[in-house]
């Protein structure tokens, strides 16, 4: 049995700058995989390739062995890969309710009628902690609430894989704990595979089954958290930008 998502030799340049250089990676079903690396390492670019926002200059992407390299974002989403954005992009002039409903409408199997969809939206908003914000416009939310809303919208698409780009940034320690619980529930109850980018080292090391490390567009390391922590090369990569 192959991997759920597989990337082979992914390369992507912007003008003269090569953001990703021949990256190979794979995600297995049910895993939580952390993606780390210094700023500008190419983490978000890798998410953009997987979610179809950009297409690689070379290399291939597979989802359930299906070639998804050049599919459009909505096609990839409908296949079962949803994402949040590092720089949040909720629909600002729409309510939390409407934001989440969009995720359901886009689905191939938006089962049931309007009422069932309403219930589903309410359940999702409660799940991410926005139960009392249904009618609030997204532009009136705090940054953290906007991130939660993006999470609800992504979950509404019923993905098999969830890509989370720095969802913990800006949270305080107790909020981080809450978020980690949420991610664990997403894995165990919703049976999703989670691929996430984080700078909060303690959290990502603790909650991930496996870590992939990018530096200057290259995958420099991959393995279990303990192995990664003890790897000097990685620490070096981080030293460059630590105590920020």
């Amino acid at each position: 049995m192959g991997a759920l998502i597989e990337g082979k030799g992914l390369t992507k340049s912007f003008g003269g700058l090569t953001a990703l250089k021949g990256v190979d990676f794979h995600l297995d079903e049910g895993e939580i995989i952390g993606l780390i690396g210094p700023n500008g390492a190419g983490k978000t670019t890798l998410f953009n390739l997987v979610s179809g926002v950009f297409h690689p200059d070379s290399g291939k992407l597979y989802f359930n062995s299906k070639n998804i390299t050049i599919l459009k974002p909505f096609e990839i989403c409908r296949l079962g890969i949803a994402r949040t954005f590092q720089i949040v992009r909720p629909f600002l002039k729409m309510s939390c309710f409407e934001n989440t409903l969009v995720g359901i409408i886009g689905r191939n199997d938006k089962n049931g009628g309007k009422e069932e969809r309403k219930d589903e939206v309410r359940t999702l908003l409660k799940f991410v902690g926005l139960g009392n914000r249904e009618q609030t416009l997204a532009k009136d939310l705090t940054l953290i609430e906007k991130k939660r809303l993006e999470m609800a919208r992504a979950l509404a698409t019923k993905p098999k894989v969830l890509l989370l780009d720095e969802v913990l940034a800006g949270l305080n320690p107790s909020e981080i704990l809450q978020a980690l619980e949420l991610i664990e529930v997403i894995r165990t109850q919703l049976k999703m595979t989670v691929f996430w980018i984080e700078h909060v080292m303690g959290a990502i090391m603790k909650a991930s089954d496996r870590i992939i490390v990018l530096d200057q567009g290259e995958k420099i390391k991959e393995g279990k958290a303990e192995e990664i922590v003890s790897d000097l090369k990685v620490i070096e990569a981080y030293l460059g930008e630590s105590d920020a």
């Binding site: 909720p90 409408i105 886009g106 416009l137």
Partner: protein, 314 residues
């Protein structure tokens, strides 16, 4: 809670109902001249509101809206003149032709998006005008195509009611679309196209759909207009007409439901007063619209009442 909801429903049904009752009255006290102004205003309400559906709700600034009204008018007029098709059937054919051409044009140029859509639709309008002017065997060119009216006995009051009914019908359809799940995808695309696409929305399809629906509505409005004037000229699909519609939507308030309605009545009535100084009103309105777009992007409705506007569409 029940009371509040009831009050909300009463408002939602009550206010439009009041307007409809008021709208029945004009033929009883207006002169033929002002009744004519009202009929033309209703035509512009259809045009500006349907243009608002693409420009205001999906963010696509099309310059082909007047062109599509011309397509509706000429299609209906030509089947009436050449095949003796009655106007009521003719306007349906005109609407269909406008929808088909809208779908085709949308399919070809919406992928390009943004400024390219505006430029392509501008080009389309010009090409259409040239064809209409030159193919005078069919269209009678700048002379104008004489077409039959709707009623065997000419009556402005009848036309007024006909326009009123169709306008209300169009507005209900637009209101329904904006508040439906389809309308939600329109707004999602306007808010953030990439986020919409990443949430599973086929954004190109949404935009083509909005463009097609809007073009069909322009075709319907144009068909009615032609059979009211009983003379179809290249002025109907002209860019002057286009900018007038644009100014009505922008000045009234784009992206709001009532904005284009208010803008149409205000500007059409104003043009009757300004017209005596020459045909500068389109230019003047264009300048006002530019200033509004810059300083009061929500238009008159944004200035008059934010709260009121919010209750209809937020």
């Amino acid at each position: 809670m029940g009371n509040k909801q009831q009050a909300g429903t009463a408002k939602k049904v009550g206010i439009p109902a009041l307007f409809i009752i008021l709208a029945i009255l004009p033929p009883f006290f207006l002169s033929q001249y002002w009744l004519h102004v009202m009929i033309i205003s209703l035509f512009y309400v259809m045009m500006a509101s349907s243009w608002n559906l693409i420009a205001g709700f999906t963010g696509q600034v099309s310059f082909a809206h007047a062109a599509f009204s011309g397509i509706g008018a000429y299609a209906s007029g030509m089947v009436a003149v050449n095949l003796g098709v009655p106007p009521w059937l003719g306007i349906l054919i005109g609407t269909g032709v406008a929808a088909l051409l809208g779908l085709g044009l949308g399919y070809l140029c919406i992928r390009m998006g943004g400024i390219y859509l505006s430029l392509t639709t501008l080009g389309f309008s010009e090409i259409l005008r040239i064809i209409i002017t030159n193919e005078d065997k069919w269209t009678r060119g700048t002379m104008g195509l004489q077409v039959p009216g709707f009623f065997s006995e000419y009556s402005k009051a009848n036309y007024y009611y006909l326009f009123l009914v169709v306008t209300i019908f169009l507005l209900i359809v637009i209101y329904w679309i904006v508040h439906s799940e389809m309308g939600l995808t329109f707004r999602a695309v306007l808010n953030d196209e990439l986020a919409a696409s990443s949430s599973g929305i086929n954004t190109i399809r949404v935009r083509i759909l909005a463009f097609t629906i809007s073009s069909a509505m322009a075709g319907l409005a144009g068909g009615l207009y032609g059979h009211y004037l009983m003379l179809i000229t290249p002025d109907i699909p002209s860019l002057g007409q286009m900018f007038l519609v644009l100014a009505m939507a922008v000045i009234g308030g784009m992206g709001s439901f009532i904005g284009p309605i208010v803008g149409s009545f205000v500007l059409e009535t104003l043009s009757e007063y300004i017209r005596i100084y020459g045909e500068y009103h389109v230019l003047l309105f264009g300048l006002v619209a530019l200033a509004m777009a810059r300083f009061a992007p929500e238009g008159l409705m944004g200035i008059v009442g934010k709260k009121w506007r919010k209750e209809w569409v937020h």
